[in-house]
Amino acid sequence: MEKHFLDEQMEGTPTFQSEPWYNRFGDCVIFQIADEAFVAERIDELLSVYHSVNDGRTIGFQIKGVLAIIKKFGLDGLSIKSETDANELKSISIAALLLAAYEEGPRTLGRRRAYASVMECPVDRRSIPTEELQLV
């Protein structure tokens, strides 16, 4: 395969990091637990599940329309406060985002299974600071 077109401007040693992050170019939260190719399964308007192409297991997800979810449910309904500093900025709970997204669609068995599968993904970072939520 060809040389990567961006290699000349990249420096450092890549290290796979398994934690959810906010993609401000797409207003979505992305999370992957394994660094391998996946096929995305669109569950509904707000959730896509990533399945490994090697063995089909769930290795991640994408929550879409994050700012719209926050607008509808309110920051207080989705956020958690730091336990160490009451004045610190809030963070958005990944679990609360997933539950809010689930409430937006029909309560079908397929959706319930898909949402359950992503909620079982082992997540080290369970929230995203609100200061990171800036749409481009």
Binding site: D35, V39, E45, K64, V136
Partner: protein, 135 residues
């Protein structure tokens, strides 16, 4: 901070006109380089799709106006770090652009049974197809 990378692609608003610059945001590509090596390699596949587009869809989000999806079927892709394999026949690679023509997502999806260059259920998930290749 990595610089933005401009890639020439079909103008989704005027497909018969001159090609336009679609941007891979430096912030995004740097993140994939640092933390997700396989997806960093999939940027090569995404660039291939923008340069060899087979279908373009519009209206990709219900809650965010605008946006585009470009699709194509590459010959190969990375399945693990340093492991290249043929791209599966039953899949299509999709590249998603926001209304500012910034790439924000790129991934394999199952291909539609009625058109292997389209993601499955394309008739319901997008507002429409704006362009298809004739070759």
């Amino acid at each position: 901070m990595a610089a933005d990378y401009a890639c020439k692609a079909i103008d989704p608003s005027a497909p018969d006109g001159p090609k336009i610059d679609v941007i891979f945001p430096g912030e995004l590509t740097l993140r994939y380089f640092k933390y997700s090596p396989v997806r960093y390699m999939h940027l090569i596949t995404a660039k291939y799709v923008l340069e060899h587009t087979e279908r373009i869809f519009f209206g990709v989000r219900e809650f965010n106006d605008g946006g585009w999806c470009y699709t194509a079927r590459p010959d190969e892709w990375h399945i693990r770090e340093n492991v290249v394999a043929p791209f599966p026949k039953e899949m299509v690679f999709a590249v998603y652009l926001n209304p500012n023509l910034r790439v924000y997502e790129f991934r394999a999806e199952r291909a539609a049974k009625d058109d292997a260059a389209c993601p499955e259920d394309w008739q319901n998930r997008y507002r429409g197809m704006t362009w298809k290749s004739t070759s």
